[in-house]
């Protein structure tokens, strides 16, 4: 900009106008911040999605021993595995190879009613009910594999997460030194009858 000798002098700051200007900016800024709230809130789950979490009932009467069936609850796979006596016996022997054999960690707390026997993690010893989502980064593990069939499991029977190689035993407990630190979560559930399980609701509810 070329300097101009005839340019008018800058007048003294009008304090009243300056105060009005500042006040306008502050109020306008607060208005912008307030307007951001609904925008940020719009990313949260909608009312419809919040309401979609109702419990589901699963009939396990036709589930044979050693087999697993998968139910859907809140969009997640819920595994129901009927374990054989041999499977249950093996669960008592792998304790020293597990990261958290007694499910004491609290990131995904195991309900108390599933901890009467920490080696089974279930209400009825033979019927395992867990959320089939790896606690590491949310993949769904594959399995159940019998002992010796999957190289990542070695001589153990259990589940293998294809994403990062975490392995779990047939009670959903994670083996040591794997990316996942937590056992597979046990959802709230209760027995409506001997063979009907309600997932998403427990006796406290």
């Amino acid at each position: 900009m070329p300097s101009d000798a005839t340019a008018p002098e800058v007048p003294d700051i009008d304090r009243e106008r300056r105060a009005a200007l500042l006040a306008t900016c502050v109020v306008g800024g607060a208005g912008c911040a307030a307007a951001a709230v609904p925008y940020i809130a719009s990313w949260g789950p909608s009312e419809r999605e919040k309401a979609a979490g109702s419990p589901v009932d699963v009939d396990v009467s036709s589930l044979p021993a050693g087999k697993m069936q998968v139910a859907e609850w809140r969009g997640k796979p819920i595994w129901i595995l009927r374990r054989t006596p041999e499977m249950l016996a093996a669960l008592r022997l792998d304790t020293d190879r597990l990261a958290d054999p007694d499910s004491k960690r609290t990131a995904y707390p195991t309900p108390e009613y599933a901890l009467h026997d920490p080696s089974t993690r279930s209400i009825k010893p033979e019927l395992l009910v867990v959320v089939g989502i790896c606690t590491h980064l949310g993949c769904s593990p594959s399995g159940p594999f019998p002992a010796g069939e999957n190289p990542q499991l070695g001589d153990e029977a259990g589940f293998v997460c294809p994403c990062h190689g975490s392995t779990f035993d047939l009670a959903g407990r994670v083996f040591k030194n794997k990316p996942a630190a937590d056992n597979l979560p046990v959802p709230p559930y209760r027995y409506l009858s001997d063979s009907l399980i309600r997932i998403g609701e427990d006796t406290k509810a």
Binding site: W43, G44, P45, S46, E49, G53, V70, E72, R74, G75, K76, P77, A99, G132, H136, L137, G138, C139, S140, P141, S142, P151, Q152, C161, P162, C163, H164, G165, K176, N177, K178, P179, A180, A181
Partner: protein
């Protein structure tokens, strides 16, 4: 008259006297922007990145005209584009191939910067904006990869969003907020479409502008790492500089022609690139109940993914050992009691979080290291203490160190595409050590050895 005094005649003169900023910008950034005359092969990739951006914007806009961001319709709308829209397969393969080529070009562009010290003073801002572009590009690719709604789209997004889950206190709420649901679903797909097509491209274009402005304010570096502005001719122009237009526009056209041959060879003959550019499992519709037996992110994310996967509980002890050693080295290198106390305190805190009685999970450390592996680039201008910018005048073994880093980066990339096993995990852990060691130890190794004298003027043989 109120008209600007123009130096052009005819229609251009009419235009310029009414809107001079267009030709001013052309002169500032093209015909009177002086670039060093000794640019070599590595200097093609900046303009090529701009070419790929244009390819992505155009092909992306046309894909959006047929694509439906709806969990029930998305997968089939992509198949519709591939099979029934006239020319749809061509547009989509240009877009999917463009994504991979964007990263190839950007990785080579970053490598060029590391080879010739292009991030050194006064070009720190060029580099920082560039690092932001790299992060925005990764975000763009991540959001875009969910859109075909195949198995890899779904489970890839599941894993990455769950990374946020491991942040203490706010993690689970944050990941629900990102998904818009308790699981990845329609809400997630819809917002990712908006991010991929509106938000991130806008940010990316703004950053690209800032990158070029920052570059043109300080001037380009060159393979010799010399300031051409230190030697001006009588006309005030750098003696070793030539106008970007027409010299480099013509030069870059040649590069673009060669690039497009390679690009369209892939588009026409190998758009899936054997499952590397387009993964086989992504031709199966998303199934929230079934993770594919082998999942891997796209090739350009696998180095960081390997680092995430390599961070197991058993690796934390080794990290702690490295942190302790690094703390001692830094403690002995810094001067002043205050700094030394700060170094000791930071080391102690890190050690407590790594191996203390209530240490953080390996999972959170994995996320932190994966984040660190991409953001460490921001520190490069201050980590490099070499007296010479360019590798040409640094000790020969410095190139060996850079080569070792590149080798570790490639190895991590290849391992990240393979299913994990104990041996591969150990190799990944060693490579992660090399990766971070390269940056962390740079303040020491970059000034070691005997440096060659840096010439006054650029080395250039006319051809």
């Amino acid at each position: 008259m109120g008209l600007h005094e123009t130096r052009y005649r005819g229609l251009l003169g009419w235009f310029d006297s009414r809107m001079p900023s267009v030709m001013n910008a052309f002169r500032d950034h093209m015909s009177e922007y002086y670039a060093p005359k000794n640019f070599n092969f590595w200097y093609f990739f900046g303009s090529l990145a701009l070419v790929v951006l244009v390819i992505q914007l155009v092909s992306g806009a046309f894909l959006a005209m047929h694509y439906k961001p709806d969990a029930g319709a998305a997968f089939w709308s992509v198949e519709f584009i591939m099979r029934e829209v006239s020319g749809g397969w061509f547009i989509r393969y240009m877009h999917s191939t463009g994504a991979s080529f964007f990263f190839i070009v950007v990785y080579l562009h970053i490598f060029r910067g590391m080879l010739y010290g292009s991030y050194r003073k006064p070009r720190e801002l060029v580099w920082l904006v560039g690092a932001c572009i790299f992060l925005a590009l990764m975000a763009e690719s991540f959001f875009g990869y969910l859109l075909p709604w195949g198995q890899m789209s779904f489970w890839g997004a599941q894993v990455i969003i769950n990374l946020f889950d491991s942040i203490p206190l706010i993690g689970p709420d944050l990941s629900t907020w990102i998904r818009g649901d308790f699981v990845i679903g329609d809400a997630t797909l819809n917002r990712f479409f908006a991010m991929h097509t509106m938000m991130i491209p806008t940010i990316l274009m703004g950053l690209m502008g800032a990158h070029i402005f920052a570059l043109h304010d300080v001037g380009s570096n060159n393979p010799d790492g010399i300031e051409i502005k230190d030697h001006l001719g009588p006309d005030g122009k750098p003696l070793d500089g030539i106008p970007f237009h027409p010299y480099y526009t013509v030069h870059d056209l040649y590069g673009i022609a060669v690039f497009l041959i390679a690009f369209f060879a892939v588009v026409f003959f190998a758009p899936e690139m054997g499952g590397v550019f387009l993964e086989g499992n992504n031709f199966i519709p998303a199934d929230p109940f079934q993770t594919p037996l082998h999942i891997a992110p796209l090739w350009y994310f696998t180095p960081y993914y390997s680092i995430l996967r390599a961070t197991t509980e058993g690796f934390l002890g080794w990290i702690a050992l490295a942190v302790a050693g690094y703390g001692v080295l830094t403690y002995l290198s810094v001067r002043g009691m205050g700094l030394r106390i700060a170094v000791a305190a930071a080391t102690a805190v890190l050690l407590a979080l790594l191996v203390g009685p209530t240490h953080l999970d390996a999972k959170l450390w994995g996320v932190a290291l994966m984040g660190g592996s991409t953001t460490v680039l921001f520190g490069l201008p201050w980590l490099d203490r070499s007296p010479a910018r360019s590798m040409r005048y640094r000790p020969l073994w410095h190139r060996g160190v850079l080569a070792l880093f590149v080798a570790a980066f490639f190895a991590l990339g290849v391992l990240g595409m393979m299913p994990p096993n104990p041996l591969r995990t150990v190799i990944s852990q060693v490579c992660a050590g090399v990766y971070f060691g390269f940056f962390a130890l740079m303040p020491w190794w970059s000034r070691m050895g005997s440096f060659l004298p840096v010439p006054d003027r650029v080395r250039f043989a006319a051809h």
